[in-house]
Amino acid sequence: MTEDLVGRGNKDGADLFRQWFTSLDETANNGDQAAYVFVMGSINEILKAFDLPVVFPEINSLQTAVRRVAHEYLDVAEDYGYSPDICGYVKADVATQLQDGLHPMGRIPKPTIAVLTNACNTYIKWAEIWERMHNIPIFTLDVPGTRNEGGQTWQGDRDFENDRKYVAAQLRELIQLCEKVTGKKFDIDKFREVLGYANRMSTGWSQILELNRSKPAVFNALTDGTIFLGVANGFRGTEEGAVYFEQLAQELKYKVEHGIGTLMDEEIYRLIFVGVPCYPIFRRFNELFTEWGGSFINSTYLWFASGGTNRGFQYDLDNPIDSLAEGVLISVRDAMDSMFHQEPMIEDMIDEYSVDGVIFHPIKSCRTVSTGLADSRRHLTERLGTPSLFIESDMMDRRVVSEAQMKNRIDAFFEGLASRRQQATHA
């Protein structure tokens, strides 16, 4: 039983991920249609109802970093004219487009349509590049976010209703656009089926996050979590995606029941990761923490890069379009909150997940996630005094990743944690 179950999520996730890229390669080679989307508000729910394969350029770009070829892509885009100071994901994608979809995981199809939200402003500038390069329709689903910390409104409130109506109207306009692009009539029953799969995935996603409250943690939010995110994005609204997360929840429950942790050695420190992973040295970055017995038990990345799936929103299949509008509004807003207004969430998590330290990892490439982290950390320290570490690098550009410098700071952080714990014991 243990052999079959433990590790299944990572293995199946990696398999699904490869299958997805294989299918994209086939789509590219056949010259078939594809939709370009982003992780925060992919609107897979509508696109899958039109059988449009989805391409996530963010994921394509991060894969070039994980596979250590990002610099080649960045060079191509910078030669084209893009500044070293803009988002590395954008540049890697520009290079992919300029090289006819060339990518280490297979050829990436050209877009027939691009659908984006305003969750990240760079999405908008990015899609404008495709608009020019490929002369395709781009659709910006504008999802108003939280206006001030703690100021979220909910169903029945006039401001919430103003936002919901706006999102719902746009979704109806998107459906019309998809009909035009694909030449297919919108099938409400198929749409309901897709929403049903998305509901099952959302349930599974929130369950797995909850399960990591256990000691020891049953998955590593940084490394295993990234595999889960790949499936959550690429397979949202599909049966494979729904089944995957149900089975993953089953696996992790088993690990909780049997006290099987994610570290080979004892879990000494429970950590939260705030920011975007350091993909150019992805495994090594994690090891710098696990070597000290540090385990990432949750991350803001698992919230925003899943488009707020952590909220576990369940669509009402009897009222599918309006319910999707409500779900997108609440979930994408939550994804934005976990970047702009994340302190309450982090504070809750510190308490509920028995956290020993918070790792803030702002990066050069992403101002969305990184701009407020220093201030957020400052306030966290003032309010709770929770130990934290602030290390800057990048998600793509190895020129600004200094492993030696990072190691020094991480080592010092753990030495501080150890000494703090020792003092607490003696007190």
Partner: protein, 388 residues
């Protein structure tokens, strides 16, 4: 409130009026705003690019453009990471260093850094700090209705700060005051375009930018007084190329940089403080004023790299500006570390190449104080055009 916050210019010759405007724009102490506060007035600070100032005005608040300053972000630095534009940091620094005191702050999702700014500001100050979600899908048939609701939401917060209701009548009056301001600014830009030798580039800039820190009625008075004096000036056109300056929609180049450019070129159009001129025509003050303001933003507005609109492909808009200004070349600039500006620079240059328009690419920072190298490059560019 009847207090005049900038009154020194009255009775002064034009050159002195322009000097006073320059002093205020270059100083980071915002003394007119302080005078407003000293008289018991309340202040709403809003980050770039566009904010419907009419709503704050109708509530009796002083709307102030927070657009950075030439000062070191000593206190603000610890609130931000490394890879950011200057204007984000210096804007907060203005508050942290007590150069400006606010009763409300509003930011907009113009870029990823600006959207974070409201949250950061909110963690540091107890007064309301909000994001105004201007529509990024103005092409939706529902965007005007949505924006009307969003303006209503911000109006309610403003009312709480002001301690009074904003009536439709007050809003209509404010729209009228700002329509007059828009008309006068259009006149200022007519002068820049038609007779640029009558007004130095930096003076034109300061005459506009002073409006960001004083009541609109006072700005109107200054413009109404100064513009005829400028037109009356004698002067002859010099042999300079006519340029459009693009890239200052948010962070502003230092006045000295504008002065340097004005020594070798005529800046006949630009996007300096474009939020002041974002609504292109008069806003119809009849009917529902919030709806009219929302409609104006969606249907009667200019362009910038941070307003997405399928009808406004930015390089096409720039070419339109270039042609309308009968310019010879474009200075395609961007603030350092400004993601949307730097991204748009690429689109602009490819678009200008396709249209065979000469351009000069540069970056700037508001705190920059050395221009020798840049001046040499600009002169070389200009000479290449003049003597080609």
């Amino acid at each position: 409130m009847n207090t005049k916050v900038f009154d020194d210019w009255r009775g002064q010759p034009l050159d002195e009026i322009l000097r006073l405007c320059r002093d205020h724009v270059e100083d980071s102490d915002y003394s007119p705003v302080q005078r407003w506060r000293d008289a018991g007035g309340k202040v709403l600070g809003h980050f770039q690019v566009y904010f419907p100032e009419e709503i704050a005005h109708a509530a009796g608040l002083l709307p102030v453009k927070i657009m950075g300053a030439s000062l070191e972000p000593t206190a603000a630095d610890s609130r931000f990471g490394s890879y950011l534009c200057s204007v984000i940091k210096t804007s907060l620094e203005l508050a942290l260093s007590d150069n400006i005191q606010l009763d409300m702050f509003v930011s907009h999702p113009i870029c990823d850094a600006a959207r974070n700014l409201a949250a950061i500001w909110g963690r540091n100050y107890d007064y309301p700090c909000h994001i105004l979600y201007l529509p990024q899908n103005p092409n939706s048939g529902h965007s005007v209705e949505y924006l009307r609701g969003e303006y209503d939401r911000i109006k309610r917060t403003i009312e709480e700060v002001a301690g009074r209701e904003v009536t439709d009548e007050a809003l209509r009056n404010s729209i009228g005051v700002f329509n007059e301001n828009r008309r006068l600014l259009r006149e200022l830009y007519d002068i820049k375009r038609e007779t640029p030798w009558l007004l130095a580039a930096e003076d034109a800039y300061c005459l506009m930018a002073i409006g960001g820190m004083i009541p609109c009625e006072e700005h109107n008075e200054i413009l109404a007084h100064a513009l005829p004096l400028i037109r009356e000036k004698s002067g002859r056109a010099e042999d300079r190329i006519r340029v459009v300056y693009e890239g200052a929609f948010c962070e502003q180049p230092p006045v000295d940089l504008i002065r340097m450019l004005g020594r070798t070129t005529y800046i006949v159009d630009d996007d300096f403080v474009i939020g002041s001129r974002f609504i292109l025509d008069d806003v119809d003050a009849s009917g529902d004023p919030l709806e009219r303001l929302a409609h104006a933003y969606v249907e009667q507005s200019s362009y910038s790299p941070v307003q997405h609109d399928l009808r406004k492909l930015k390089e096409d808009m720039l070419l339109r500006r270039f042609r309308a200004a009968r310019a010879d070349a474009v200075i395609v600039s961007a603030a350092k570390m400004c993601e949307p500006g730097l991204e748009e620079q690429v689109a602009y240059t490819y678009g200008l190449d396709a249209a065979d328009v000469p351009y000069f690419v540069s970056e700037f920072e508001e705190n920059q104080n050395s221009f020798d190298q840049l001046e040499l490059q600009v002169e070389t560019f200009v000479e290449n055009l003049l003597f080609a």
